[in-house]
Structures are given as structure tokens and as C-alpha cells.
Point group: C2
Chain length 171, copies 2
């Protein structure tokens, strides 16, 4: 079963955390929430609260099997922190399973990991994704090289959840 | 005196609207707030409220002398609306004075107007700006071709306000 690093902070899109979490845990996987410091509580756009398990200085990519980036404004806040960007980059460099929905791919852009890759994301970041060298797919979910799973919005969650669970099952 | 189109919606960075507004009005200019529809009230990240003067379908760039894009999460919400993106693009295409602070340049990226330009912006969008073809300057304010004024954060407001007022005075 996989141990999944989940980078998240305030203003996350509530269902884009809770719904994949439910699907991943139902499949037997474990999510570890990561922000600047352990023990803090972060708040979603619609009021959901999440307790942070680990601070970014406490974690190494080697401790995890996969990476999950929920959307909302959380990814944009996180990518202003070079430590989070470096952490995210290590998963992509190692071709570990990486799941990003909505604004989640913003962190992958700042980590400069999308050149030549196939991805989708929220409409507002489409030009950013294309400028980063990604081929943009206006589809509910896109699985690139059996490693990177991206989706656009909360409406895509059933497809996103299905593909991230399937991808981990295939490892 | 200039009539300044101000594109703004919920989650704007409060001081990045109120402070330039004060400086511009003190210099005799007029701001017209624009969002999806006239009459609605939008709310800043810290509680400031702004009444919207005009809906995006009611305005033409020819009615205005300059464009102002306050920061916060407002620009990212607005750039999901193709009408706002087209409106912003017309100011840049016509080389009209354009002022953007913090996340404001996100709208200029989606409008594909920054290739070969010099700009600054909030740290989180630095890679997006560079991927869009802009030269990024980590400075409190940058004036490009006496037309485009950008700044990084609320701390830069004194410099930003000075340069946008000066630029309009020079026209």
C-alpha cells in the first residue's frame, strides 16, 4: 500500500482533498498531509479543516511512494516556498506517481517539471501549462506516462479518483 | 485626466486596490470597477468591499485611457472568463497604460501579451512570467516601455503608486 505525500495549505478546494482522500484510503493507502509546520490546522475555501501531519523540513521524498496536490488557491500559496517546490520536483524527477487537480499543476510548473508532458488543469492555468511546455488536454482526466494524473475541476473527481487508485494498483 | 478600467472580483488583495485608488483619485483620475455584472459587490481577502460599476459586456476598451489590475486571487478568477481576457488584451495591444500588481500579471499572461516585455510580480508567478516570455525583475516596481507598470506585493505600493501617477502625468 502506498504512503502518499499530500502538500496542502489554506484555501484548498475542499472536495479536491476530501474526495480523493476517501478513495485512496478505501483502497488501503495512507495520506500524510504536509505544509510549513506539523500540527497546524489549514482551512479550505468552504470551511473544511485539515490537520497537518508533517512540516516540510521534516520530510524527504524517499519516505513516500506518491505525491498528491489538491487544488484551490493552496498550490499557488505553496509554490512561493522553495522547499515545497524542491520537494515536488523530486517526485517528478524520480517518476513517482503524482496526482494534481485543478490548480495543483501550478506547483509542477514552478518546479519546471512539465516540459514535454501531457496534462490538464483548471481553465485559468491553461496558458501557463502550455507556456511550461505541456500539451494541454481539455478532458476530465489525463494519465501521462503511467505516472502523472491530472484533472480540471471538482466535477472531474470520479474520473480522477478512479485513475489515481488504478495507477497505484498497477505498481 | 484618465478614465481607468479596473478589473476586479472577489478575493482581491484589499490594499492593492484601495491604495492605488486613493493615489490615482488624488491625482484627479477616475476608476471604473469592472466584473461580470454591474451593481454586484465584491469582497477582498481581508473584508474590504467594492461596488462594481460596469459589467464586462457593457464596456469597450475605447471608453478608457488606462487599465488597472489589482492582485490577490481576483486576477486568477477573472482570467477564466474569455471576455475579461480579450478586454485586457486590447489595452496591451493598443499600448495603453497598464498597471498590474502581485498576481495582476496573470491576466496579462493568459492574454498572451508579455512576450519580450519586462515585468515583475508576486514570487509565485515568477516562473509563469518567464515561461510567458517576459524578463522578470525582482524589483519593487518596473516600468516597461513607458506603458506597463508592475510590482510584486503590498510592500511595493508606494513605488507602484508613484510610477502609475507619474506615467499618467506624462501622457
Amino acid at each position: 500500500m502506498a504512503k502518499i505525500a499530500t502538500v496542502i495549505t489554506d484555501m484548498f478546494e475542499d472536495s479536491e482533498f476530501t474526495s480523493p482522500k476517501e478513495a485512496l484510503e478505501a483502497a488501503g493507502h495512507q495520506l500524510v498531509t504536509i505544509d510549513t509546520e506539523a500540527g497546524k490546522e489549514v482551512k479550505g475555501k468552504h470551511g473544511e479543516t485539515v490537520k497537518i501531519d508533517k512540516g516540510i523540513d521534516e520530510v524527504k521524498d524517499n519516505d513516500f511512494d506518491a505525491l498528491f496536490i489538491p487544488g484551490g488557491f493552496s498550490p499557488d500559496i505553496l509554490r512561493a516556498d522553495d522547499r515545497v517546490v524542491a520537494f515536488v520536483k523530486s517526485f517528478m524527477d524520480d517518476m513517482k506517481p503524482t496526482f494534481a487537480i485543478c490548480h495543483g499543476p501550478q506547483l509542477l510548473i514552478t518546479a519546471k517539471t512539465l516540459n514535454g508532458r501531457d496534462a490538464t488543469g483548471y481553465k485559468s492555468i491553461q496558458v501557463d501549462l502550455e507556456n511550461a511546455g505541456a500539451k494541454f488536454h481539455d478532458e476530465e482526466v489525463f494519465v501521462c506516462q503511467k505516472q502523472l494524473v491530472t484533472s480540471r475541476t471538482p466535477d472531474d473527481l470520479p474520473a480522477f479518483n478512479r485513475e489515481i487508485v488504478n495507477l497505484l494498483a498497477s505498481k
